[in-house]
């Protein structure tokens, strides 16, 4: 493949800068929250650094390959990801009573994370193929199938949070392509039929979580307690924060899951409203930048893909932070680029790569 010089000139340094600053803050935060904690002998922040580096390599791959090629092979990629989910279903590793992990060459990987990105690519392809004909009832069935297969596999793991996340992503893209009102009604009612189905597929503890969210008094000891401790941690940070390594909530381990789901609470405790504002600003800038890429993208599939990835990041932020400040139920959705976790970091880096991909090629006309 001939490397076009224009690709280099149009490389999206700003996007790279935003992503790296968030990951950097995330690593610093991990250093603080887990400085006395080792996992298998490795310090978590060191491990996270290696995830970021690996992610950057994936990112380079993701922006080097023209996204049209990805779109062309979207169904293949989709089939591959479903296959991975099936592997998890049969051979997955069991932790905390759920089966989410696949161990490949000693690395554990969560195919459900990958699915979040793949569903964006496959929908970009699907909508692009069908845009001229307009969207009819048949499309609804196809959409529900594309969504339904990974959805059911992930619910069965069980990982309700991630499964609902897929629904949200699909929904956003459906709204974006501008589907007729009738279609929208069908989609929503279809989802509403799926939802009670989930109720029977999920495990007791998840049902309990949903009920707890609807009524926090139900469980002042489990999830409710986590939320309370998280709120105390965030609030006690005040305006200026307690300073790095000084968060008492964190250091005394009142906070649950501080490396992953509640990483933001640790940050908020130690850096205060000031730090939080900076971080939120970077996140906000990232989303706006993503939307700008959508707007400037040269063609329809590019716009769709960029939009999907942007929404992926946006909903991650909204749900995770909403969760730690007690306005969204506790579901295991990590804070993008920030929480500890190899699978999610790599997939998000790949997503950022795709955004760059679309951004770089915005001026290149197709032959």
């Amino acid at each position: 493949m001939k490397i076009d010089r224009r690709l280099l000139t149009h490389f999206d340094w700003i996007l790279l800068g935003l992503v790296l600053s968030i990951s950097g803050i995330g690593i610093l935060n991990l250093y603080s929250s887990g400085y006395n904690l080792c996992s298998g002998g490795d310090l978590l922040y060191v491990k996270q650094m290696s995830w970021v580096l690996l992610g950057l390599i994936i990112m380079v791959i993701a922006f080097s390959v023209d996204y049209h090629i990805l779109i062309r092979h979207a169904y293949l990629i989709y089939a591959f990801s479903v296959l991975l989910l099936l592997l998890v279903f049969f051979y997955g590793n069991l932790t905390h009573g759920s089966q989410r992990w696949l161990i490949i060459w000693g690395f554990s990987f969560q195919p459900s994370e990958l699915m979040k990105l793949v569903i964006v690519i496959v929908l970009a392809r699907y909508f692009n193929d069908n845009m001229e004909k307009g969207y009819r009832f048949g499309n609804l069935l196809a959409l529900l199938t594309i969504l339904g297969i990974p959805f059911l596999l992930i619910v069965r793991q069980p990982d309700l949070g991630t499964a609902m996340f897929l629904v949200i992503l699909v929904f956003c893209m459906v709204v974006f392509v501008g589907i007729g009102r009738k279609f929208l009604v069908c989609f929503i009612s279809g989802s509403m039929i799926l939802t009670p189905l989930c109720w029977f597929l999920i495990k007791d503890y998840q049902r309990e979580r949903i009920l707890t969210f609807l009524n926090p008094e139900r469980d002042p000891l489990g999830t409710g307690y986590h939320i309370i401790q998280s709120i105390i941690a965030i609030g006690s940070g005040g305006i200026w924060g307690k300073g790095i390594l000084k968060g008492t909530q964190t250091q005394l381990r009142f906070l649950p899951e501080q490396q992953t789901d509640f990483a933001f609470s640790v940050f908020a405790e130690e850096w205060g409203f000031l730090g939080v504002s900076v971080l939120m600003f970077i996140f906000f800038a990232l989303i706006l930048w993503g939307l700008k890429i959508v707007q400037n993208s040269r063609d329809y599939p590019g716009a769709l893909m960029a939009f999907g990835v942007t929404m992926f990041v946006f909903w991650g932020i909204l749900i995770n932070i909403g969760m730690v400040i007690g306005v969204v139920p506790v579901v295991g959705i990590p804070l993008p680029f920030f929480s500890y976790g190899g699978s999610s970091m790599i997939v998000l880096m790949a997503g950022a790569g795709l955004l760059m991909n679309v951004s770089m090629r915005r001026f290149i006309l197709q032959p």
Partner: protein
């Protein structure tokens, strides 16, 4: 780029620009909302929450629920809950746990035995979570600890319910015992929803019904002071007691069985042939389940697990034995039902039976002479049944054994049930890769050879003969109810099947079993009461095949090679209300060793009934 799928036409950036504008507004709104909430938490409520975090003495204290009670069929409590005073240390409040521990041991001698193994969790655990260091201290020591509490920072005493097994080792195998959930158990799917500090049933009914007995933990959010003492309760959830369980076991009868057994190893199980209810089930030797309540010491545990007599095994459901002559009833039923013999068919027994180049002996060396089926059962003639076995063949025999409930789990509500073994031609080919030998059928026809049964299976089959042909599911649990008496689940008698033997043939068998006990030369003479109402069958199961000429005098043979003594019986003859299965491991002859034990149980049962009627 071929651009086949990329449709440049129809893409209208302007149309999307408006949509993106809206989305930007929505995204901004969302971010604004998050920031506003963070502002509220960090700036508006900042000081307040900071104070709360500084003396974040808000702890979760779990309140353990009371485990459900277990009662016998008459409502006598078998398992109760007692209070145990346990000492905990909160590492964060104690600062130096070693120093505090030393002070504590100096103040009162708590004994090494009481120290819990959880001491190791000082380092790895969360600093504010109490770690249990002593279990079940007595009241004097409790007073010492309480009066010195100012010198013992971080030391707290808590009342914890523990199980009290009122009948001790008499009920050990039925009730089982409880213990802290292990990490391997926590990982299993069955235990999803359990937490790491939970007490779970490890054995017996405690394990089988753990989900019902366990109850639901409550807890409190409490504010505690620097030393970990509670100041204020912020809110909480009441624990919900576990469900109460009523068994079909009759505690008095169980006691009678235990006493009848004395020090021998084996099992006695009593069933109501009319319903399949298990009225008593004793397995010897036994153990005291109360040992486990307060944490069993390593030495005692090791002694229990390495004892060659396996006191932890419930022989009634997990023990597998050759049934010996007790199995002849199944052979007889099959032969009658298949029309191979009638009750009048006579076979000559000269004491030996030739099958190929092997000679099989009758237990009576001189032989029984000409005998019909009735006499063959009454005097337990082996040769008669060798012939029946040859007529039937192994697979026909296995078919009938299956109908009588052999070869698969009877389905009692206890963990660890075994299914025994009913060999077939196909089984042997699969298992050993060798075809079936005719002589092996000969062994099977007197309950030897490959055949293995559990005492429970045997008892159930005899109940079917006793009640005229109904094979019941063994029923240990009567009902489960909430603490205020609402019924959660009931277990009515459950007929598994009607055995395919005609009423007439069953009556022939029943009458023969009556003869075993009540006729001259009957092998079950030990059960002959003045009411002449007991029916039964003896069995002597060879552990290894003895060489043909040894005179198997019990005392000469090494213990582990001695025969098992079996006896199954039911009474009264007319309308059986009780069926008993006794096995004495390596006891010798069924008629002389197992039957007397059955006798004591039968007598005890009727005395008990008489007493209860008077009252």
């Amino acid at each position: 780029m071929s651009g086949k799928q990329d449709r440049l036409t129809g893409y209208d950036p302007v149309r999307f620009r408006r949509k993106i504008q809206v989305i930007i507004w929505l995204v901004s709104l969302a971010f604004f909302f998050l920031i506003a909430r963070l502002w509220y938490l960090q700036v508006v409520r900042g000081d307040d929450l900071r104070k709360r975090s500084e003396n974040n003495r808000v702890r979760i204290q779990e309140i353990k629920p009371l485990r459900g009670l277990i009662m016998d069929t008459h409502g006598n409590i078998l398992v109760d809950n007692q209070s145990s005073f346990d000492i905990f240390i909160i590492p964060e409040a104690a600062k130096d746990t070693e120093v505090v521990m030393n002070k504590l041991t100096n103040l009162c001698d708590l004994g090494e035995d009481a120290i819990s193994r959880e001491k190791t969790s000082f380092k790895s655990g969360r600093p504010f979570v109490p770690v249990r260091i002593y279990k079940n201290i007595d009241r004097d020591k409790l007073a010492v600890v309480e009066t010195n509490s100012l010198d013992l920072p971080g030391v707290v005493v808590d009342v914890v319910p523990v199980r009290e097994y009122i009948y001790g080792e008499v009920m050990a195998h039925i009730l089982g015992y409880v213990g802290n959930i292990s990490s391997s158990e926590l990982g299993r799917d069955v235990y999803s929803g359990y937490r790491s500090n939970d007490i779970v049933g490890k054995y017996g009914i405690e394990k089988y019904l753990d989900r019902y007995l366990k109850g639901k933990s409550g807890g409190e959010q409490v504010e505690v002071d620097v030393a970990g003492r509670r100041l204020n309760v912020l809110g909480g959830l009441k624990p919900v007691s576990g469900y109460n369980v009523t068994l079909n076991i009759d505690a008095a009868l169980q006691k009678i069985c235990q006493d009848a057994f004395q020090e021998k190893a084996g099992t006695a199980t009593v069933m109501d042939p009319r319903t399949g209810s298990v009225m008593a089930m004793v397995s010897r030797p036994s153990f005291d389940p109360n040992l486990f309540n307060r944490g069993i010491s390593g030495g005692k545990w090791k002694k229990l697990t390495t004892d060659p007599l396996c006191p932890l095994q419930n022989r009634a459901v997990s023990g597998q034995y050759p049934p010996g002559s007790t199995y002849k009833m199944i052979v007889a039923a099959a032969a009658l039902e298949e029309g191979l013999i009638t009750e009048n068919t006579e076979i000559f027994c000269n004491g030996t039976y030739q099958m190929g180049d092997r000679t099989f002996r009758c237990w009576k060396k001189r032989g029984h002479g000409m005998a019909n089926l009735h006499r063959a059962i009454v005097e337990s003639c082996d040769v008669y049944f060798y012939h029946l076995g040859e007529m039937l063949g192994v697979d026909k025999l296995a078919e009938y054994a299956g109908k009588f409930g052999f070869g698969y789990k009877a389905g009692i509500s206890l963990p660890g049930e075994k299914k025994g073994l009913i060999p077939t031609k196909e089984w042997k080919l699969r298992r050993y890769g060798k075809p079936w030998q005719k002589g092996e059928t000969t062994s099977l026809s007197i309950g030897q050879g490959f055949t293995l049964v559990t005492p429970l299976q045997l008892l159930r089959a005899y109940c079917a003969i006793a009640n005229g042909g109904v094979l019941y599911k063994p029923r240990l649990i009567k009902r489960i109810e909430t603490t205020d008496g609402q019924i959660v689940e009931e277990f009515p008698p459950e007929k598994e099947r009607i055995v395919p033997v005609s009423k007439k043939n069953i009556d022939i068998l029943r009458h023969a079993l009556w003869g075993v006990v009540n006729e001259p030369h009957g092998t079950g003479w030990a059960l002959k009461r003045k009411e002449r109402d007991v029916c039964g069958k003896t069995g002597t199961a060879q552990v290894i095949s003895m060489s043909e000429d040894t005179d198997d005098d019990v005392d000469d043979v090494q213990y582990k090679f001695r025969d098992h003594a079996l006896f199954v019986c039911f009474a009264p003859y007319k309308d059986p209300a009780i069926a008993i299965m006794v096995i004495v491991e390596h006891g010798g002859h069924g008629g002389s060793v197992a039957a007397p034990i059955a006798r004591r149980i039968v007598d005890g049962y009727f005395n008990l009934e008489r007493k209860r009627e008077k009252m």
